[in-house]
């Protein structure tokens, strides 16, 4: 075997790659092609026919633009909330936590160790009508006597925020941790106030982390359906809920496949707009 590798040096990388690439090609790339094929079919389950049915796409947008828009609005708000919650925390961990850094990082990833569905169900306990949070808010007259938190937009968006928080926090932490602390000293020596130093030095240097975190949070959030299903009502249904129920309940594969592509396309558009705003070199590098 050793001599075989010797004789075919140029082939080595391809041999190493072959099993993994084949797996991804057969079970990731080809399925996407099948999804595309499915999205242009027409008919009723189980007799679908390939008819170049482009109307699946236009019908999908016409019938579900509310859910599409809602997905992106919810994902956008949740991403922003993650940023506001995560940035000060990881800043504190990177610059103030000292020897406790790794322990606090563990606190950030700890939610991942509780099964996704179970940690989402925990919010049912917390936000329940008989629970303490609703009780306090009712006493403070922030909520009316019949006001609830469950089955509201608030519940769904905060569920999404909680579930994808680590995706925002970790990349920002990495970018802050790599920062050279002497730059801040230099800024101070040059008479920058702490706020100026933050805006002119720290923030720009952590921008790659913010960009990566935003993408890692926004993309899965836009396709999520668990939070809307468990914490919301049909009034909070996102596009993921529609795709899921069409695929697995009403068995309307063509329109579900078309909606999947619309979701991916819109995410791509959102990414391009975002790249335009933050500068494309930051997005890739």
């Amino acid at each position: 075997m050793g001599t075989f590798f010797h004789r075919h040096r140029g082939a080595t990388p391809y041999l190493l790659l072959a099993p993994g690439v084949l797996w991804l090609a057969i079970f990731f790339v080809i399925p996407l092609a099948f999804l595309g094929y499915e999205s242009l079919q027409s008919g009723l389950f189980p007799n679908f026919e390939f008819t170049w049915q482009f109307s699946n796409f236009s019908d999908g947008i016409r019938d579900y633009h509310t859910q599409l828009l809602r997905s992106f609005v919810y994902a956008g708000i949740a991403t922003l909330a993650c940023l506001v919650l995560a940035y000060p925390l990881v800043y504190w961990i990177a610059f103030r936590a000292g020897a406790w850094r790794n322990l606090f990082l563990l606190f950030i990833v700890a939610p991942f160790f509780v099964t996704y569905l179970v940690r989402t169900l925990a919010w049912l306990n917390i936000l329940a009508d008989e629970g303490p949070v609703v009780g306090i808010l009712r006493d403070l007259h922030i909520l009316g006597p019949d006001g609830r938190l469950l089955a509201t937009t608030f519940a769904v968006v905060s569920g999404i925020t909680y579930n994808f928080f680590p995706f925002m926090a970790l990349p920002i932490y990495v970018s802050l941790e790599q920062m050279d602390a002497r730059l801040l000293e230099a800024a101070k020596d040059l008479y920058a106030s702490p706020i100026q130093a933050f805006i002119r030095v720290t923030l720009p240097l952590s921008a790659p982390g913010i960009v990566a975190g935003t993408l890692l949070t926004f993309i899965p959030a836009a396709g999520d359906f668990i939070n809307a299903a468990l914490l919301g009502t049909p009034n909070q249904a996102m596009i993921g809920n529609v795709i899921q129920s069409k695929f697995l309940e009403s068995l309307d594969y063509p329109s579900a496949a078309a909606l999947s592509f619309i979701l991916m396309g819109l995410i791509l558009v959102a990414l391009l707009v975002y790249a335009r705003i933050v500068g494309s070199e930051r997005l890739t590098g």
Partner: protein, 287 residues
């Protein structure tokens, strides 16, 4: 700072301004700890309600402390099978994905070849595709090839390997980049062939990265709901079981299992934190 605070003009400042100074100094710490509290709250709730003795069918309101859910963790029909299935899928998929991913990482970091960029893209894409699209597209493949694939254990396994591989590649790659190639060249100069060099030098050096990748892969597999849900057919993993029962009433045993998984994961992570802390201390002591 302390000497300044002891000076008379400082001491005479009003309570309000002193409170404000305190808030200003500690606001960030307080905010950080509040966010940590927010992150821990649902976890605490999950663990707490694993010890609850619910009044009715619903485990939403605290009633009475009991250990019985932990002793009778498999009292709910189907829960034990679901956990066993999750562990089986997790182990198998992790082993296969770690092997495939490590080989890919070796090729990408070590070799310059035509198609390297394309391979990187192929690895990156599954991670940046929404899970629902991954699940749905695989389902269409399986539905169109029913002669080969029947939905069930095997399709769950295939799906898990597919989405774990990318994470393995990224994890192992990060480790390989900072790796001294001279060690391997030295082994070859001493007459070892490629296979022996790989076994005796490369493998021991990348083993920690492979272990980290495998742990991550296992965690991803055991937690996955969306992709599994699309490709499970009638087979139940633990998350699928929870989804099904969530529509009726979640028994406290679900909290018991989730707490147990959490405790095991935290124990592994804490061991790692402690280990790194100690080895960091040792290297500092050595220099």
């Amino acid at each position: 700072m302390t000497t300044v605070a002891a000076l008379p003009p400082r001491a005479r400042r009003s309570v309000a301004s002193r409170t404000w100074a305190f808030v200003k100094r500690h606001a960030l710490t307080v905010y950080a700890l509040l966010v940590v509290g927010y992150l821990m709250l649902p976890i605490a709730v999950v663990i707490m309600f694993s010890f609850n003795h619910p009044t009715g069918r619903f485990n939403y309101v605290w009633n009475e402390f009991t250990f019985s859910n932990w002793f009778h963790w498999n009292d709910v029909l189907g829960i034990q099978d679901a956990i066993v299935r999750s562990l089986e899928v997790g182990l198998l998929a992790t082993i296969v994905a770690t092997a495939l991913g490590t080989l890919m990482a070796l090729a990408i970091v070590r070799h310059h070849f035509v198609g390297r960029g394309a391979t990187n893209v192929l690895v990156f894409l599954p991670m940046s595709t929404p899970e629902i699209v991954l699940g749905a597209s695989l389902l269409t493949l399986f539905l169109n090839t029913t002669a080969v694939f029947q939905l069930g254990f095997i399709t769950i396994f295939i799906a898990h390997v597919m989405f774990i591989v990318s994470f393995v590649v990224v994890t192992v790659k990060a480790r390989l980049i900072g790796f001294d190639r001279h060690l391997e060249e030295a082994a070859m100069d001493l007459g070892a062939n490629e296979v022996t060099t790989f076994r005796k030098v490369t493998l021991p050096l990348i083993a920690p990265a492979m272990l980290a990748a495998a742990l991550l892969g296992f965690a991803l597999s055991i937690d996955d709901f969306v992709i599994t849900y699309f490709n499970a057919g009638g087979t139940q993993t633990f998350p699928i079981f929870v989804w099904g029962i969530a529509r009726v009433a979640v028994p406290p045993q679900v909290n018991v299992i989730a707490s147990a998984i959490f405790i095991v994961a935290i124990a592994i992570a804490l061991t790692n934190v402690f280990w790194e802390y100690r080895s960091a201390k040792r290297t500092r002591g050595a220099t």
